[in-house]
C-alpha cells in the first residue's frame, strides 16, 4: 500500500513539473566513431540530473549538442519546448540566455577583468532586465552569490582555480538562466575546493530555482547534488535511477563507477 502510494506520489510530482530539456534519439559520430548512439534525456523544472560516464563516452559532445555548439547527426533536442536543431541564429541566441553553461576549464575571457567577464553576456541581452544603464549592480549581485564580490577588478590570471570556477559560475548566473549545464564542475580542483563548489551548486539551485544538468565522473559530486542519474555507456542511456538505486546495482558496468 505504502509502496504504491510512493510511486503514485512520485509520478504525480514529475507529471506536474514542466519539462525543461528533452533529448530524443540523439546520434553523433566522428567518422566511423559513433559517440552518441540514440541517447535520450528528460530534465524537469527544478531538478538536478547527473550524467555519469567514462572519459570519451560522449558526455561533453552531448552537452555541446544541447547548446548548439555541435550539430547532431540525427535526433531532436528541445529546450523549453523549442527544438534547437531547427532554430535560426537569432532565436537560438535568445534561447541561450535561458541556459547557463559552466565550462570544465572555467573559460573566463583572460583579456578582460572579472567585471568585464560578467558584463559580457549583458551586452546583447540587457533587455532581459528592462531599461538598465548601469550593469554594475547586477555584476555585484552575481559575484556576491558566489562569495567573490571583492574580486570585481581583478584579472582571471590573478585568481586561483577554485575562484576562477566560481567567477565562471557567477557569469553563467548573470542572465538569470532557468537551466544550468555543468561540464565537470569539480575536475582539476583539490578535494576541499571541489567540496566548496558542490556546496555552491546546491546553494545556487536553492537561490535561483534552476534546473541543473551536471556532467561528472566525480562520485562525491554525484552523490551530493543528484536527484536522478543517468549512466552514459557506449553512447546510450545504460542505466537510470537515483544515486542509491544505481549504487546498489549488481551490474558490473554500473558497479565500476562506484568503486
Amino acid at each position: 500500500m505504502n509502496l504504491n502510494q510512493n510511486i503514485l506520489e512520485k509520478t504525480e510530482k514529475v507529471a506536474s513539473k514542466k519539462l525543461m530539456l528533452e533529448i530524443k534519439d540523439l546520434k553523433k559520430s566522428f567518422g566511423n566513431n559513433y559517440v552518441l548512439n540514440g541517447f535520450n534525456l528528460e530534465l524537469y523544472e527544478g531538478e538536478n540530473l547527473v550524467i555519469m560516464g567514462k572519459s570519451g563516452s560522449g558526455k561533453s559532445v552531448m552537452i555541446k549538442c544541447l547548446v548548439g555548439l555541435m550539430e547532431p547527426d540525427s535526433g531532436s533536442i528541445k529546450v523549453m519546448g523549442k527544438d534547437i536543431t531547427i532554430l535560426n541564429r537569432m532565436d537560438l541566441d535568445e534561447l541561450r540566455t535561458e541556459i547557463g553553461f559552466l565550462f570544465q576549464g572555467s573559460a573566463l575571457y583572460d583579456s578582460m577583468t572579472v567585471k568585464e567577464n560578467l558584463e559580457f553576456p549583458l551586452r546583447r541581452h540587457k533587455h532581459k532586465f528592462g531599461h538598465i544603464t548601469d550593469t554594475t549592480q547586477l555584476v555585484i549581485e552575481a559575484l556576491q552569490s558566489v562569495g567573490l564580490a571583492d574580486t570585481i577588478d581583478l584579472m582571471p590570471a590573478e585568481l586561483s582555480g577554485g575562484m576562477q570556477r566560481r567567477v565562471a559560475l557567477a557569469r553563467t548566473l548573470i542572465l538569470k538562466p532557468r537551466i544550468i549545464l555543468y561540464d565537470e564542475p569539480t575536475s582539476g580542483l583539490d578535494p576541499i575546493t571541489a567540496k566548496e563548489i558542490i556546496e555552491l551548486m546546491r546553494h545556487i539551485q536553492g537561490q535561483y530555482k534552476t534546473s541543473s544538468l551536471i556532467i561528472t565522473h566525480d562520485v562525491d559530486c554525484a552523490r551530493v547534488v543528484s536527484e536522478r542519474m543517468i549512466l552514459l555507456i557506449d553512447g546510450v542511456n545504460y542505466a537510470e535511477g537515483t544515486f542509491a538505486e544505481l549504487k546498489a546495482s549488481k551490474d558490473e558496468k554500473i558497479k565500476a563507477f562506484f568503486k
Binding site: F103, G105, A107, L108, F120, P121, R124, R171
Partner: protein, 256 residues
C-alpha cells in the same frame, strides 16, 4: 599519394578561407557594430606596431641608399638618387617589406590569441552566452588590420625616405629641402595611389588569415603554436600573390 592528399587539403583550406572571408562581409554591417572593440584592435595593431614599422622603414631607407649610391656615382648619376629611392620605396619595397613585417607581428598575434581562446573554450563561452564571437573577435580584427596597414605603410615609407635623406646628407651634402623636392617631383599619382590601395588588401589578407587560423585552431596548445606559425607563412605567401596581381592591374591602368 601523400602529395595528392597535401594538394587536396591545400585547396580545401583555400575554400574554407574563402568562405570565412564571405562570412566577414556578411557580418560586417550587422549590429552591434562593436566600435569599442574595433578601436581597441586598431590601437593594438596600429599603435603597437609603430616601433617595428619605424625601425624597419628607417633601415630600408639607409640600406637602399648606401648600396645603390656607389653604382650611381660610377655613372655620375647621384642626383637621381632621391627619385630612384622614392619610387622604389613608395611603389614596391615599402609596402611589401612593411606588410611582411606586420604579417609577422599581427597575423601571428591574432592567430595565437584566437587560437588560445579556442582551445580554452573562451570562444564557445561567448557563443553560449548568446553573443556572436565572429562579429566581436573576427570582424573587428580584420577591419582593424585593413584600416591600420595603409597608415603604417605610409608612415614606414616616410621614415624610409628620411633614412635615405640622412645618408644623402652625409655622403652628398644634399639639403633636406632639395632632397624632398626631388622626391615629390619624381612621384606621380600612378605611384602613390595603386601602392596605397594594395596595402588595404595586404591588411585584409593579414587579418583574414590570422583570424582564420586562430578561430579554427585545434589540437590543444600545440595547435596554438601551429596556428600562429601557419598564419605568418600563409599570410606572407598571400601578400606576394596580392602584390603580383596589384602590379599586373596597375600596369594595365597606369602603364608603369
Amino acid at each position: 599519394m601523400l602529395k595528392l592528399i597535401q594538394i587536396k587539403s591545400f585547396f580545401i583550406e583555400i575554400g574554407e578561407l574563402t568562405y570565412f572571408g564571405k562570412r566577414f562581409f556578411k557580418e560586417l554591417f550587422n549590429k552591434p557594430l562593436e566600435l569599442k572593440e574595433l578601436l581597441r584592435q586598431c590601437y593594438n595593431i596600429g599603435n603597437k606596431s609603430l616601433l617595428l614599422v619605424g625601425v624597419t622603414g628607417f633601415i630600408i631607407g639607409l640600406v637602399i641608399t648606401l648600396q645603390t649610391r656607389p653604382t650611381l656615382e660610377e655613372f655620375g648619376a647621384e642626383s637621381w638618387m632621391p627619385s630612384m629611392v622614392s619610387i622604389s620605396i613608395v611603389r614596391e619595397i615599402g609596402p611589401v617589406i612593411i606588410a611582411l613585417t606586420c604579417a609577422g607581428r599581427i597575423a601571428s598575434g591574432i592567430g595565437a590569441e584566437l587560437g588560445s581562446m579556442r582551445v580554452t573554450e573562451q570562444i564557445d563561452a561567448m557563443e553560449v552566452s548568446g553573443t556572436n564571437p565572429f562579429k566581436y573577435l573576427v570582424v573587428t580584427r580584420i577591419l582593424a588590420a585593413t584600416l591600420m596597414l595603409p597608415i603604417l605603410v605610409i608612415l614606414g615609407d616616410a621614415i624610409a625616405l628620411y633614412g635615405s635623406y640622412i645618408i644623402e646628407n652625409i655622403k652628398g651634402e644634399v639639403s633636406f629641402q632639395l632632397y624632398f623636392n626631388k622626391v615629390f617631383n619624381a612621384l606621380e599619382f600612378g605611384d602613390i595611389i595603386p601602392a596605397t590601395i594594395k596595402t588595404y588588401f595586404f591588411g585584409f589578407a593579414i587579418g583574414l588569415v590570422g583570424c582564420f587560423k586562430g578561430y579554427y585552431c585545434d589540437k590543444g596548445t600545440v595547435g596554438v603554436g601551429l596556428a600562429a606559425n601557419s598564419a605568418v607563412v600563409f599570410s606572407s605567401m598571400l601578400l606576394f600573390i596580392i602584390d603580383f596581381i596589384a602590379v599586373f592591374v596597375t600596369d594595365i591602368f597606369f602603364e608603369i
